[in-house]
């Protein structure tokens, strides 16, 4: 079957002076048509570089990539007509109004707002009251919605969104993901990157990226299943004291703060009862230790430490 997006053995290196940076190392992935695919990783993982290669804005040092069945080098012109790209940095015209920006991008692709209104209406309606305002004077959330509308206006078959939710508050992030889910219903393939691990669960499949490599690709459920060690959540009145105790405990393999709890894994052949006993001296008030299901972030950290 033909994939919407495919990368095969992509490498990318940059040279600045005498320093060589390997931004991407042997990246291979395939995204199916209609899929909502996430690139999950911190700054420096290589997410933006990969997007730039897919959108034909940058050449890979080695390897090849295809978008909508077309090769990124030979068919770059055709690819540009078929993809929508929302860069991480706001890149619309600040001194054009909302409406002018949209009609400018529509014109570039030989279409109009009226023609594809159905596709963008859910998003555009939210900024339509401000259509005569200059883009530069919009709030962060509204800029983001305008940028998404502009990336969609030519009815792309694949949409690339580079960190659309970075620096955005938890409510707006949630709303943005709901918008993406709705777009997916319209047969658009979406590739989206994010440094927020909790957003991985909103994707059909994700690639966990770190320092230019893909550590794992799978559905969020399968990824958490690969965390095989029993995982324990501990809580006490003084969490800092508890962390110090746990980290210096011989039976503890890893201990990381995770919201209200510390997530713990034990060394091989150590039973949780042994740990419970060693903590039970009354030194930690309100101590609880319970087994829990791992999250994507637990697995990400496990992979980082391998």
């Amino acid at each position: 079957m033909e994939y919407a997006v495919r990368a095969e053995g992509i490498y990318k290196s940059f040279h600045t002076g005498s320093v060589q940076l390997e931004a991407l190392k042997n990246i291979s992935l395939s995204v199916q048509r209609g899929e909502l695919f996430g690139l999950i990783g911190p700054d420096g993982a290589g997410k933006t570089t990969l997007f730039r290669i897919f959108t034909t804005l940058m050449l890979a040092t080695k390897g090849n990539a295809w978008v909508d069945g077309l090769e990124v080098i030979g068919d770059y012109e055709e690819i540009r007509k078929r993809v929508g790209y929302m860069p991480g940095k706001f890149s619309l015209y600040q001194d054009l109004t909302v409406e002018e920006n949209l009609s400018f991008f529509a014109t570039l692709f030989d279409t109009s707002l009226e023609e594809n209104y159905d596709l963008v209406k859910d998003i555009y309606r939210q900024i339509e009251p401000f259509k005569h305002r200059r883009a530069g004077a919009l709030s962060g959330g509204m800029k983001q919605k305008l940028a998404l509308s502009c990336a969609l206006i030519h009815k792309p078959s694949v949409l690339f969104l580079d960190e659309p939710t970075t620096g955005v508050d938890a409510v707006s992030r949630k709303e943005f993901w709901e918008l993406l889910r709705n777009l997916q219903q319209q047969q658009i393939t979406i590739v989206v990157s994010t440094p927020y691990m909790d957003e991985a669960s909103m994707c059909d499949r994700v690639a966990l990226m770190q320092e230019g490599r893909i550590m794992e690709i799978d559905s969020p459920d399968e990824i958490t299943k690969k965390f095989e060690k029993p995982l324990w959540a501990a809580k006490a009145k003084n969490m800092y004291q508890l962390m110090s105790t746990l980290r210096s405990n011989d039976g503890v393999a890893t201990c990381y703060p995770f919201g209200q709890f510390h997530h713990i894994t034990l060394k091989e052949n150590i039973e949780i009862e042994t740990l419970r006993k060693s903590l039970g001296g009354g030194e930690h008030l309100d101590l609880t230790v319970q087994q829990i299901e791992p999250t994507i972030e637990d697995r990400f950290m496990e992979l980082m430490n391998q």
Partner: protein, 248 residues
Amino acid sequence: MSSQPSISVSKLTKRFGDFTAVDEITFDVHQGEIFGFLGANGAGKTTAMRMLCGLSLPTSGTATVAGFDLSSEPEQIKKSIGYMSQKFSLYEDLTIRENSRFYGGIYGLKDQQILQRTQEMLDHLKLESQADTLVKSLPLGWKQKLSFAVALMHDPKIVFLDEPTGGVDPVTRREFWTMIYAAADRGTTVFVTTHYMDEAEYCDRVSIMVDGKVQALDTPSALSKQFGTKGMTEVFIQLARKATRSDN
């Protein structure tokens, strides 16, 4: 906990023309407390924080920071606090040692103190071998840990952290919070903003701003109980959904 609060804010207000960015906020922060300062984009967090750092004068209301009055003693406040953010921290084209020298000088430390503190910092962060490396060639996670250490170099009573962990990998993010815990344990007050709701849980107390006002303030567990939720994410969403004004 000392009797005098580290930060004491009373009806603090900031207006820009007819827009009230910060609307009569009132709260105290105790010494050695990790205080989470949350809010939706545009709720007024940055404006409030700029006032507390002595960078912007309030329209009305009063506050003391490290015992100094916000309106009449902003310069003393600046000397008593440390500050770091994701956007502005260290100078990229200076080395680690040069940044440390520079900030030490800005904070008024003596040469001998600067040398000593720099060495302590390099030892603690295990960065000795990188001391003469330009900051721009360091990984983001190191930069953030380093800028936190630099913000603490003059032993401030309070440190303000504005989204210090944005874009940082999950392991480094936790190492960073371990540094925060340790600073608070030594008695430094930590005033921190974040968009990561799991980090809100690490705070001793959390305030949530909506449309310029502080709408909730308590320990994370008390807030979860009060709003009938499992954690801070839902608390935040319930409150921020009520916001009528949009961001910045």
